[in-house]
Subunit: 324 residues, 2 copies
């Protein structure tokens, strides 16, 4: 079996060696650019690890793994246009570095490139991998649309928010694991358990992102602490606070949301204090722990020796403990 | 064998019965909307006709035919954003009726829906249909990028323009025919001849569109005559004129292009007169005839009885003689 480091080395080498035509430059350069910005490569790592649970040949799963990573980066590229984001991983977003038309079209091309790699799946697995990939891709679009719809709403029930992040984030983590399992020769039941594992894990990861934006360690967290607070982003924390605050606390929260930001630090401090008063951090942590546990209930049902499962357990545990 | 009318009835019924979830409405309504605007359904018609050349079961090709039509409509949806077009087939474009974010995301979803139908191709044909579809889709993106690049250039060599429209338009017509042929059981050589036939045909169609914008019959032509002239669109006619005009004619043409449009009718009349003086219409007609001939050189190599080929010949001939 391969270690996490060995798997990530394979993935990074394959991503670096992806080659695109030199022209038209404005179509292909943005694809190379966004791929060069790095990232944890979480999804393809999970695909290869899931494959490795059942087979010693992780190469079996490399093409769908690349397709999934290309698709994920395509969604970042287009989401950044829709969110009018200036930066991605510390660098200019594609629509800022080039322009919006370039970002739209190179994103479209990137989605096609994703399907090209998915299509290189062995014929025996091709129909189910394609069906799962397309179903997942359309769910990710649904999640993004629902997320944008939430921005126009004052209050969002917690279960609606969890369903949104399930679609926008969790299903792709789930599919990454299920597809990897299929490629390694898992049974439908085993692959289904890995899908369930990934779905709960994806929810836990996203809630942890929401939490770290407020309670993360500024030194190690990749983004500025409080960015979501400043931009009024509807995170799980803000939604919990909006739904549980009453009286003067609710009034204060609404005021911070509605008024233009004069002093970002002051706003971050004030809203964090509201979260503290309402115990939002601990409610969020409990929800994360609950998804984490649910993930491992599914994972534990896999009838594989612990020695085969340990690498994946360690990788996921490290991610759950990250402060960045 | 089915007549063109019968084939188009099948296609329209299948497109009308495509059903999408009710929510999120802003993701799926624009897909239903753009499909409801109609159009000739040229590409899926060619797919089924190509299938019908080799098999009496056109149903064999219906899924890839739908996938190709969905993909074509997706490109229109995103191209309209990039071109800042207000109208499409007499109705508001998606980004005008909704907004740009909705147009980007529903377009992304539509591309996934296209792949979903392509993926329903029978397993025996799936790898080559997927490969051809993705190769074609990426070429269409290349064509769109090159087209946008041309807008920034003063002069474009004719061969560069022809290569652009080959990518942007002709390859999808070619792939529609090739894929249909495969689904009907054609040999690789037969399917290849249909690809070549479609490629030349697609070039002829696009040049005819360029020609009809200037010399079409205003009563029957779907758009206003001279629209491309008013907007300085780099059509084959304008490119031919820019490359062949000299002296005072060139100066006059450049003036019409550079000056803001005060009176559109006056501009259309003046530029059309320049085209007349330079004989642009007849050069364009000769080029169309040459592609038409090249198309039928490929088609004639198909060793099929004329009785099987007649429906496709008649359909294509009617399209070539259209004034609309």
């Amino acid at each position: 079996m391969l270690t996490a480091t060995e798997i990530q080395k394979i993935i990074n080498q394959r991503i670096e060696s992806l080659s695109f035509p030199a022209t038209p430059a404005d179509l292909y350069d943005p694809i190379q650019y966004i791929l060069s910005l790095g990232g944890k490569r979480l999804r393809p790592t999970l695909t290869l690890m899931a494959c490795n649970l059942f087979s010693d040949e992780v190469e079996l799963a490399i093409e769908p793994a690349l397709g999934i990573e290309l698709f994920h980066n395509f969604t970042l590229l287009h989401d950044d246009i829709m969110d009018k984001a200036d930066k991605r991983r510390g660098h200019l977003t594609v629509h800022r570095k080039w322009n919006e038309n370039v970002a739209i079209l190179s994103g479209d091309a990137m989605q096609i490139e994703a399907y090209r790699h998915i299509s290189l799946t062995s014929v025996a697995n091709l129909p189910r991998v394609l069906a799962r990939f397309s179903q997942t891709a359309i769910e990710v679009c649904e999640g993004q649309q629902i997320d944008m719809d939430f921005e126009k709403r004052c209050e969002v029930p917690e279960e609606d928010y969890l369903e949104m992040i399930r679609l926008k984030t969790a299903v792709l983590v789930a599919a990454s694991l299920q597809i990897g399992a299929w490629m390694g020769g898992a049974t439908e039941q085993e692959a289904g358990l890995l899908y369930d594992f990934g779905s709960s894990l994806g929810l836990a990861f996203q809630l942890q992102d929401d939490l770290l934006d407020v309670y993360g360690d500024a030194k190690t967290f990749g983004k500025n602490i409080g960015g979501d607070i400043v931009s009024n982003k509807k995170t799980f924390l803000l939604i919990l606070a909006m739904n549980s605050a009453t009286g003067s606390i609710k009034e204060s929260l609404l005021r911070w949301i509605k008024e233009p930001v004069v002093n970002p630090e002051e706003k971050i401090k004030a809203v964090t204090e509201i979260y503290d008063t309402l115990g939002i951090g601990s409610i969020c942590k409990k929800q994360i722990a609950s998804f984490h546990e649910k993930a491992f209930v599914a994972f534990d049902k896999l009838g594989l020796p612990l020695s085969r499962k340990q690498i994946l357990i360690d990788y996921v545990s490290a991610l759950m403990q990250r402060q960045t």
